[in-house]
């Protein structure tokens, strides 16, 4: 039997649908709500990055909140101390977090599974205290406030932003910026994992011994995956800083790392389309859980219960569910020579 491959036409249609959804989505929600969508976009980018590492390479990281902090603080420090325009700091934030990602990838060469999770967790726990330690650069416990220290570098201070002669509100701008970068990041990740590099990553995930015997350089692959994943986290952190116009150690606690992991698992490890759902899950669940009751302890309980339920009902995450739902449809659409 020949392998069935989806036709190029199908991919083009899918890409067009996604692009159309990206462009028109803000029209269906209030202006302010597009800011919430932009926040979900930050989670999306971080989740795509973590998925490369955990879903495809099999390396668990509980330190991605810390990597986001590196990105967020890089942006904030460049804006506040060096008076860079906020959006131009995004690439550098990605590079900085990528470097740190590479460094925390080094222990991954010796540790695996639970021990690696613990090592990266230690990094996530240490980051807020480290940020306070270097208060000259990071503003200590107060953090850095972009709006206060460098208002002229904040894009959209006047409420509207003009891009290529097209004027839009600041909230819409943040939405288009975040999800625009998100989609590009997604496509980049997709291209990476479907080629030779993706096969290398999966080989490492499935069996390190087999991968090594096939001539794969384990050390190189793992640290590269960490660095790449770090770039994603850094860009996400940078966008978070641009959106909230403030960075503070309290915003990058280990809880953030856990949230990103939860989003990745809920979205479905190793599944790219499920991650949009994972991002929305992480963004909206806290609001929904306070709606149930704001009595003390109830929101936290609802939150935890929802995560456990999703894990029980959808062990393969939203991505697995999507795949199962779409199977009858896609099997018909596949070209059969």
């Amino acid at each position: 039997m020949r392998r069935r491959t989806p036709g190029i036409g199908l991919w083009l249609v899918l890409a067009a649908v996604v692009l159309a959804a990206y462009v028109v989505a803000p029209r269906f929600v209030s202006d302010f709500h597009s800011r919430n969508l932009a926040e979900a976009g930050v989670f999306f980018i971080a989740i795509v990055g973590l998925n490369l590492l955990t879903g495809y390479t099999g390396q668990i990281s509980l330190g991605h909140g810390g990597l986001m902090a590196i990105g967020g603080y890089t942006t904030a420090a460049l804006v506040v101390h060096e008076h860079w325009r906020d959006v131009w700091t995004i690439p550098l934030a990605g590079v900085a977090a990528g470097l740190v990602g590479f460094l925390i990838g080094l222990p991954a060469l010796r540790l695996s599974g639970l021990y690696l999770a613990l090592a990266t967790f230690a990094f996530a726990v240490a980051v807020p205290s480290l940020l306070k330690k270097f208060s000259g650069l990071t503003g200590g416990s107060q953090g850095l406030r972009l709006l206060e220290s460098a208002p002229l570098q904040v894009t959209g201070l006047s409420g509207t932003v003009t891009v290529f002669g097209h004027s839009m509100t600041q909230n819409h701008f943040l939405y288009y910026l975040t999800w625009g970068i998100g989609l590009l990041a997604f496509v980049a990740a997709w291209l990476l994992v479907r080629g030779r590099f993706g096969r290398t990553l999966r080989a490492v995930r499935d069996s390190e011994v087999a991968a090594a015997s096939a001539g794969i350089d384990l050390a190189r692959t793992k640290t590269l995956a960490f660095a790449l994943s770090g770039v994603y986290a850094g860009v996400a952190g940078s966008l978070l800083a641009i959106q909230s116009e403030i960075v503070n150690p309290l915003s990058f606690t280990f809880l953030l790392s856990i949230l990103i992991l939860v989003g990745t698992v809920v979205g479905g490890l190793g599944s790219l389309p499920g991650m949009v759902l994972g991002a929305f899950f992480v963004e909206y669940l806290p609001d929904i859980s306070t709606h149930f009751s704001s009595a003390q302890g109830v929101p936290d309980f609802v939150y935890g219960a929802a995560i456990i339920l999703v894990m029980l009902l959808l062990p393969t995450g939203a991505g697995g569910l999507l795949r199962r739902l779409a199977r009858p449809l896609t099997s018909r659409l596949y070209l059969r020579p």
Partner: protein, 403 residues
């Protein structure tokens, strides 16, 4: 021009005039029947114990609304969960201002949290009323931030009171300080030094912790090792309880001064449950509210009013002193709103909030006034000392006024 077009143009013109006219007389968030205010509070996360502040305030507004509101307007108060994360505070505050279009931001909780939104609110000239933080900057820097005012006695003043008391009553003490490594903890420490004055050398050891730390075990051990006999606990509830617990583990029983943000009776109860009655006995703190667990106020009309409002308007646990704080700050808001005129604007409410002289707040200790004016942007600046005795706080001495 066709007649029909003319008609449409006229109608459009009339609409514009109507909008402009209505814009001139009403303020954002104010309608003839309602005033909309909002704030952030931690409903989830590590500081969620403080949510009683918002709930007590909400209960008091429901009570005022049931009695006709202010100038026939009902006060609608919405509070949003920020999980004690300043960047979320910014998001939620933006939501209040841009989406819900509140008249003023009211009673948002936390020092870093209020600092994070201060410049945003001032840039838009939205009042940041009675921020629930004792950081001195909110009262001191009003020239730079004219749209911001806090409420509770400031932390520096509190530290000063402890310092003076130690200098007076135990001039040979060996003082150790546990403080939170941020504006709040540093304000208290600066106040303590100020109060000790020439005796500042009594401070033998200072240990800081971060909010993100899991515990303060090592800090307490270091303080004990420095042979401290008077321990200042400038920490939020979780860490304050830990201080008692770890000191107890080490068999150490210093004289403890515990800051007001952690001295609520239910927190002391938890500390006692985790250690022993003896460990807690003799602790000292300040008080400015009528503690609902203090038998002294059992028949006090203010305390009775508090209990009846909590019961009728569902304010939550009536033994929680944070709810009393919430009612007091809501009482002050209502007074400011009345003062701001029949058709309050953001400018008039700010003016009213900075020229208060309220003498009848039923939830504060007798003799206390809520006073602001020219150069005085600290609404509450009086408090009493209290000592923990036999499972209860007992206040002693007179009212201090400290700036």
């Amino acid at each position: 021009m066709s007649r029909r077009l003319q008609l449409i143009l006229c109608a459009a013109g009339a609409l514009v005039v109507a909008t402009v006219a209505s814009g001139a007389t009403t303020e954002t968030g104010v309608t003839p029947s309602q005033i909309l205010i909002g704030g952030t509070t931690p409903l989830s996360g590590p500081a969620s114990a403080y949510q009683s502040v918002a709930k007590g305030a909400a209960a008091y507004f429901r009570y005022v609304n049931a009695h006709g509101g202010v100038n026939k307007r009902k006060i609608k108060y919405i509070y949003k969960d920020d999980g004690y994360d300043p960047s979320k505070t910014v998001d939620k505050t933006r939501e209040l201002v841009q989406q819900d279009k509140v008249f003023a931001v009211f009673n948002s909780l936390g020092t870093e949290q209020n600092l994070a939104t201060r410049s945003y609110l001032n840039a838009l000239k939205v009042p940041q009323l009675f921020a629930a933080s004792g950081a001195t900057t909110f009262g001191k820097d009003y020239k730079q931030y004219p749209w911001t005012i806090a409420y509770q006695p400031n932390y520096r003043a509190e530290g000063t009171i402890y310092g003076r008391y130690v200098a007076k009553t135990s001039p040979k003490a060996r003082v150790g300080v546990l403080y939170q490594n941020d504006d709040y903890g540093k304000d208290l420490l600066a106040g303590l030094r100020n109060g000790l004055g020439k005796k500042a050398g009594l401070i033998k050891s200072k240990q800081s912790y971060d909010v993100t730390d899991p515990d303060v075990r090592s800090q307490i051990a270091k303080l004990k090792a420095a042979r401290v006999n008077t321990l200042m606990v400038f920490a939020t509830p979780q860490f304050a309880i830990q201080s008692y617990v770890y000191a107890n583990h080490l068999g150490w029983r210093p004289k403890v001064y515990v800051n007001a943000v952690s001295s609520a009776a239910n927190i002391m109860g938890l500390a006692a449950a985790g250690t022993s009655k003896k460990q807690i006995e003799g602790s000292i703190s300040i008080v400015f509210l009528k503690d609902p667990t203090d038998a002294h106020w059992k028949n006090d009309p203010g305390s009775k009013l508090y209990r009846s409002i909590m019961k009728r308007f569902k304010g939550g646990n009536p033994n929680d002193v944070y709810a009393v704080y919430g009612m007091s700050v809501a009482h002050t808001f209502v007074a400011a709103l009345k003062k701001a005129g029949k058709n309050p604007t953001r400018a008039t409410i700010m003016k009213a909030a900075t020229s208060l002289n309220i003498k009848n707040d039923p939830f504060l200790l007798p003799g206390m006034t809520v006073h602001t004016g020219k150069g005085d942007h600290f609404p509450l600046d009086q408090s009493k000392l209290q000592r923990y005795h036999n499972g209860h706080w007992v206040s002693f001495g007179g009212l201090f006024r400290v700036r």
